[in-house]
Symmetry: C2
Amino acid sequence: MTKLTFWFEFASTYSYLSALRIEPLAQAAGVEVVWKPFLLGPIFAAQGLTDSPFNVYPVKGAYMWRDMERECVKYGLPIAKQPNVFPGNGLLAARVATLGADQDWGMDYVRGMYLAQFVDGAELAAAQTSVGVLDGLGVDGAAIVERAMTDQAVKDALKMNTAAAQEAGIFGAPSFITLDGEVFWGNDRMEDAMAWAVR
Amino acid sequence: MTKLTFWFEFASTYSYLSALRIEPLAQAAGVEVVWKPFLLGPIFAAQGLTDSPFNVYPVKGAYMWRDMERECVKYGLPIAKQPNVFPGNGLLAARVATLGADQDWGMDYVRGMYLAQFVDGAELAAAQTSVGVLDGLGVDGAAIVERAMTDQAVKDALKMNTAAAQEAGIFGAPSFITLDGEVFWGNDRMEDAMAWAVR
């Protein structure tokens, strides 16, 4: 079965759409999705950006929230709203997702965190948000979050993901990369990436 | 018949895709398209941008040209290539398009200029590019370009278009606005804009 890597950043609104949509599409296409959490902050910083483009350009930001509303309706997803802190700091969540990459709860945690952040208004960076989502999946949230915060191997793996994303030419999220190295940026290109993977 | 305004900037690559695609889609949907040339330069400048984001962020620029290639294949359009000067200066072309807005040759001129610039590698800003496209449409290119360069009413109309775009919340091209004021940004949203216009 061919593979598609799905690169997501927890603070990214359009990654929410892709995280919720990707598995049914992949199953229909016969594609295995490799979920890759990474941090956009260091990549933006390398471009000289110190804040989200949606904050730097307020008109673009206002448009984005309206567009998200329409997109959520289009895809039948709960409407995403701007959380109190935006963009949130996705470091802890990305570490938990890195730890969960080969665990049964991994994908559900990612989807749960997007819903918690953009639908329920929970703070992305707060440990209690991750603990709550994990507990809701029937695993020991406090223990997993503790390990995600302290395990050097987890920290290193996430750093490697972010370096690999930058190396691959990723500059935004979500992004998708096929086995032959074709990069697709944005939720709008998910179907194209899937088609490319199986062509 | 409901209307959709189509806001385009001649230097914009994704505007090329929309300019070539919009009329068949609009006719199928029963929508009248109002073609609105405007200048992105003053709008970018108001955001503090002095160059195309595709130049400011080279990784994003390289991605964009690859994406354009795939998009052209997807839509059955001639492949767009990076011209020697990018972004080109679209002032003259936008003035000619403003002059041509109520002329039979108006839309063909716009489409012809995108093909000349991105497929044939002609320089957008060069008067001879506009003259050549117009002559090819069977009108007096030299006379039209002369008038576009000197007629104060044409200059004022284009300035008003650009001010109206900014006022409407446009920050990029192409953009589409429905009669009820809904703004859609990007060639990827053209179908959504069309559907909104007739809903």
